[in-house]
């Protein structure tokens, strides 16, 4: 076994020869496809009907929520069932800023995200004291506290909730511009505006998650996931990383919450802090699609949307079947539908694995990568 020694020597002589890459040939092609897809989606409101735009809006907002939960649970190991807290806080912050503060709804959206992130600071402080599975229920309790507290806020309708006044959304930022440019009616223009924001947000989230996972922090995160003690030993600050991710997802989830409720224009504590709508569905999307991958939630949200359209008339039978499907997938294909596809084909559309490439060809007798 002298090959090891030789390759070390060659590496010293030619330091440029090896390189660590995450890119594959497929991912290059996918990048082009992704840009085209985003461009096509961006053009959609001009060509398709309002109903389709609303459906796409729903898909994109659920996708963003799913990507966030996936980052939290699949990569940072923080299994939260209390993400509805941030949807609700973002939504209520929007209503508060617009109704009580008189702010433009579009400007209020990012501020609502920041307020949701602010709420996440004490939340993290409490819930991070709970170990593993208890963290999950802890986040749920805190979300309940949020729901009960907002139900006490009489100025925003208390337990019954309130509506966004029509005057506030009528002259939203950019709305008249859309009406002039595309000749849209006010309601269609408002839908298109919300849709474009959702598209931008979903693209931004996926881009952000992808960039994060390919960065040094992403590597640290993977190390923590594989073995927290070993990762700590080599200097990964696991707690800090997890807190940062928790706050980031709180911000993005809050922004999505604000956007969803800007479009709904009607809020109540039970709806905005709904476990089923903002956590159960999201968990099912991620689990069915494939947890711990970026492709999983994308696939999952499409499957979820198709199932929703086909079976939602069945009411609770539909939810029952969705829960059962998630259980079956978790037991028999824990990496979800995308896991099944990627096992068969070896595809990685958003590769985050670091591959060692280049260097001099090593002459070996055996076929393995280590000679």
């Amino acid at each position: 076994m002298t090959t090891g020694f030789n390759s070390i020597r060659t590496e010293i002589e030619q330091p440029q020869a090896w390189r660590v890459e995450t890119r594959t040939r497929l991912s290059g092609a996918i990048a082009v496809v992704a840009i085209v897809a985003v461009a096509v989606l961006a053009a959609a409101p001009v060509f398709v009907s309002r109903g389709v735009v609303q459906d796409l809006f729903f898909i994109l907002t659920m996708l963003t929520l799913a990507q966030n939960w996936n980052l939290l649970a699949g990569y940072a190991g923080l299994i939260s069932v209390g993400q509805q807290l941030f949807v609700g806080c973002g939504a209520y912050a929007l209503f508060g800023l617009v109704i009580l503060g008189g702010l433009d709804p579009i400007l209020a959206i990012p501020i609502a995200g920041l307020l949701a992130m602010l709420v996440a600071v004490p939340t993290a402080f409490f819930s991070f004291r709970l170990y593993g599975p208890y963290f999950a229920i802890g986040t749920w309790v805190i979300a309940e506290v949020g729901r009960l507290l907002f139900a006490q806020w009489k100025m925003l309708g208390g337990g019954t909730g309130t509506s966004l006044p029509r005057e506030a959304t009528k002259d939203m930022l950019g709305l008249s511009l859309l009406q002039d440019w595309f000749g849209m009616r006010a309601s269609a223009a408002a839908d298109a505006l919300a849709y474009w924001l959702a598209l931008a947000l979903a693209t931004l989230t996926i881009g952000l998650v992808y960039k994060l996972l390919r960065s040094k922090q992403g590597l640290g995160l993977a190390a923590v996931r594989d073995n927290e003690n070993a990762a700590r030993a080599i200097g990964v600050d696991a707690r800090r990383l997890k807190t940062a991710i928790y706050l980031l997802t709180a911000f993005l989830t809050g922004v999505v919450g604000a956007l969803i409720y800007l479009q709904k224009a009607r809020i109540s504590p039970d709806a905005a802090f709904s476990l089923t709508d903002w956590t159960a569905y999201v968990v099912f999307i991620v689990v069915i699609g494939g947890i711990g991958t970026i492709e999983g939630p994308i696939l999952g949200v499409l499957v979820f949307f198709l199932l929703q359209n086909a079976f939602s008339n069945y009411g609770s039978w539909y939810l029952l079947a969705l829960g059962a499907l998630a259980i079956v997938i978790m037991l028999f294909a824990p990496r979800g539908l995308w896991g099944l596809i990627s096992d068969r084909t070896g595809w990685e559309l958003f590769p985050v694995r670091r591959l060692l490439k280049g260097g001099p060809p090593i002459k070996t007798d055996k076929g393995g990568p280590h000679g």
Partner: protein, 287 residues
């Protein structure tokens, strides 16, 4: 006087919460499994008792005796064929499977029993009360509290005095070594969950007789159970009773100030304990 009355009501309510929590605590203690469907299983048991009462015309207490072995069987099957597959180093599968199960049970109950709220009728016992020198306490809350104490005594006896209990403790401490000694962890886990479901049946009996319940009542019961366990500290059943009492007192005191604050006051008590004593008031286990 009304303050002492409130306090007493709270303590007695704590008995019910301890009953919710004991099963959760047992399952977590033995296999480190947090069952997110625990609350829904309590509601399921309440519907089962209701079904037995209405079809066979039995007294609720007798109906619970009939329901208990059925729930044991359900728990055994659930653990042996479903949950055992999810156990391992990764905490994700058990959480997500029990979360899915919670949704399945809730919607299954909605389909079978509609969304109407129900109650198990206990006839005269519902309104009967006992007088302690000026303070009166309902018979039902008293019986609930006594039952919770009896359940905890029995559970402690089971865990510390029987060979099955020894097997529970051994498996909890070290699965591999326990296996070497001839214990089959999978069936021990199944028996443990079955036992927890029998406690769930007792909890369901009092849940159903004391208040209305409907298919969506489960998650809130899970949360109360969880809060009682964390306030009391992991690994101690008496701690869980104390946790239940603290939660119950916080809720009744909150409700006495403003009826809308009942649940919120309980959550705040829980968060305060988490703030000052993150390992609970009477911790015993190290994890």
């Amino acid at each position: 006087m009304s303050f002492i009355d409130t306090l007493l009501q709270g303590i007695l309510l704590g008995g019910l919460y301890a009953l919710f929590a004991a099963g959760l605590s047992l399952v977590f203690g033995i296999m480190r499994l947090v069952n997110l469907a625990h609350g829904d299983l309590i509601v399921l048991a309440a519907f089962l008792i209701l079904l037995i009462v209405s079809t066979l015309g039995l007294d609720p207490f007798l109906a619970a005796v009939v329901a208990a072995p059925l729930m044991f069987g359900l728990g055994w099957l659930l653990q042996y064929y479903l949950l055992n597959r999810t156990l391992g180093k990764d905490i994700l599968p058990p959480l997500l499977v029990t979360f899915g199960l919670s949704i399945v049970i809730q919607n299954g109950l909605l389909e079978s029993f509609t969304a109407d709220s129900r109650r198990i009728s206990a006839n005269a016992m519902e309104t009967a009360s006992v007088d302690f020198g000026g303070i009166s306490a309902g018979v039902m809350p008293l019986v609930t509290f006594v039952s919770s104490v009896l359940v905890i005594v029995a559970l402690n006896q089971l865990i510390y005095r029987t060979s099955l209990g020894r097997a529970f403790r051994a498996t909890s401490d070290d699965v591999v070594t326990a296996t070497l000694m001839g214990i089959r962890p999978n069936s021990i886990f199944a028996i443990a969950t079955g036992t927890a479901m029998m406690i769930v049946t007792v909890a369901a009996l009092y849940l159903g007789m004391r208040a209305n319940f409907d298919p969506t009542a489960g998650p809130a019961r899970l949360i109360y159970a969880f809060e009682a366990v964390i306030i009391g500290g992991l690994g101690s059943l008496w701690g869980t009773l104390a946790g239940g009492i603290i939660l119950g007192v916080a809720q009744t005191v909150g409700a006495a100030i403003n009826p809308e604050w009942q649940i919120l006051a309980g959550h705040i008590a829980f968060l305060l304990v988490l703030l000052f004593r993150p390992r609970g008031l009477f911790p015993r286990a190290m994890d």
